[in-house]
Symmetry: C2
Subunit: 336 residues, 2 copies
């Protein structure tokens, strides 16, 4: 049964949203999860099936994230031990499935950057015989080797996970959810609105703690600070931005639950979210370039190209923060 | 004898500026040149004298550029063959003197950037024993070696130039200029204003040809396009910006002649000019990092640090273009 969603454009309308709206949402996402799982099993994973398999994995992650996020935001309305058991399992699955995709996307991003940074063939003459352009080609080959290996390991891990008893136990739980959502005894009289508002408040507080004044001043050179740090892992300065990315997602899902699927497609939220996705991707790609540069016995030209690439991606990090600041500012101004 | 300058804030006032104003200006700059030359000879060039010698060289370049620029802008008012003989000699001198300073400034800029990009000692623990931070240190040592050598060569060349018969012939001409400026026969009835306006128009036309829309959109990634080009020389995309820098200087000097020394200190022109100086400096520093990376048998960690440094300086190039666009736009808006 479908329950009515209040209009997101009119916050005074339907200010009480019953727990049944959450139950509808969880049922729908669980059904979507089971459909994606069936598609994934049918796809086989080779040839044309590889594409279908990737699409199905994407759909699985999508619904797993939404179920998990809703269990978190609306925790007081759900049967406690059940929600606390299911959530980490969903996080484990979507994390496992995400890894293969992330390695592929990272490699694509870095190869695209290497092409962007290299002179066009028309400009370079026979420059492809030159040290530094050979450097770019060698860097591409090294990154391809490293990230393809990581991706194929992640693929095997994902396949093993989907065949594990751990996964089957989780899928059984989701199947139950598709029929009957275990609500807390108090849920009948509850209202979703304050819980969704609390998710939004957590997001706003985290955004308020970001260095948005710096981020809004272009070319502030913050992205590359410590660019020559010996630690190739993502910079600690990125962490609060990654955290905001997760909180923005939880806020979007909460809106989806309370106001219906269109609320999550709010272009301002999508723009801000895309900026944070780009921030995360560039941060990881910069770290991958730095890690590749530590491969023993690489040629200086390869290392040079990886250095340029690392700095380029750290500037992408900075550019993404600027884009987020612009989107967020616009959102705040529009909302006032 | 001092002639009155029209008020730069009131373009309708004193719209005719006689050639004698130019003669006064050239006499003053020639006197300044001779004073700087005397200081340079007295400084000796070692110990405390090294600082005085550098200051004197700076003052020599300063007046040589102003005389040369004025000979160019107000050419029709000057005795033709005399001006055409003196100008290339002044350009030769200021170019020769500038080189030593440029190598020193380039090294300082790159070392500053390496420090900015390295983790602070408090953050790094014993990281200075690590590959990449060693890389930054090795890159610093390599750049120091290369640019100090280039600087000391430029220093010897400058000393030889100041002792050459070519220089003495030029200094004699400047000494004549300090007493009597050879004006063209038609100069008595001439007006400086249209010639100064033509210099401004050449600047405006060159600025109009710059990709200012792109430059005004932050993080456009234009600075690093072809960042992995095998050619370590400054990028061809920088050339029109360098050209605008020279035209802006000629415009400033022409304003100085027509409106007096304060006109050249217009903060908007100074801001725009400083952005173009930064553009030139970062462009040269990026090229120096790329050239150093081609040193045979360097360690991969050194090459990596030089790659990061190159990209950092190319982003400085992009940032400087943005700063120029902002200053120029402000100038245009304010002037309307």
């Amino acid at each position: 049964m479908a329950h009515r969603h209040p209009d997101p454009a009119d916050p005074t309308a339907g200010s009480t949203v019953p727990a049944e709206v959450l139950a509808d949402y969880l049922r729908a996402q669980a059904t979507e999860f089971l459909r994606a799982l069936r598609l994934h099993r049918e796809s086989g994973g080779t040839g044309n099936g590889a594409r279908k398999s990737a699409d199905a994995a994407h759909a699985l992650r999508r619904s797993a994230r939404r179920i998990s996020g809703s269990l978190h935001t609306f925790r007081p309305l759900l049967e406690e031990s059940w929600a606390e058991e299911l959530r980490p399992e969903l996080a484990w699955l979507s994390g496992t499935l995400a890894r293969e995709h992330a390695h592929r996307a990272c490699l694509e991003r870095l190869l695209r950057a290497l092409h962007r940074l290299s002179p066009r063939p028309a400009d370079s003459g026979d420059a492809d015989r030159d040290g530094l352009t050979v450097g770019a080609a060698k860097a591409a080959a090294l990154l391809d080797r490293r990230l393809s290996l990581a991706r194929s390991r992640a693929h095997s891990t994902a396949l093993r996970a989907l065949d594990s008893s751990r996964f089957h136990a989780m899928a059984d739980k989701v199947a139950v959810l598709a029929g009957d959502v275990p609500l807390a005894p108090t849920a009948a009289a509850a209202d979703l609105t304050p819980l969704a508002a609390a998710a939004e408040e957590r997001l706003r507080a985290a955004v308020a703690a970001l260095p948005l004044v710096t981020a809004g001043s272009p070319y502030n050179a913050e992205g590359l600070v410590h660019g020559l740090s010996p630690d190739p892992s993502p910079h600690p300065q990125d962490t609060p931005w990654h955290q905001v990315r997760l909180l923005l997602r939880l806020h979007r899902y909460a809106r989806e639950v309370v106001h219906g699927p269109d609320a999550s497609a709010d272009p301002r939220l999508l723009t801000a979210g895309r900026a944070l996705d780009r921030h995360r991707d560039a941060s990881k790609a910069a770290a991958a370039a730095a890690a590749a540069a530590r491969t023993p016995r690489i040629a200086p030209a390869t290392a040079y190209a990886l250095g340029v690439l690392h700095a380029d991606q750290r500037h992408e990090v900075e550019a993404a923060r600027f884009a987020f600041q612009q989107a967020w500012q616009k959102q705040t101004v529009d909302a006032d």
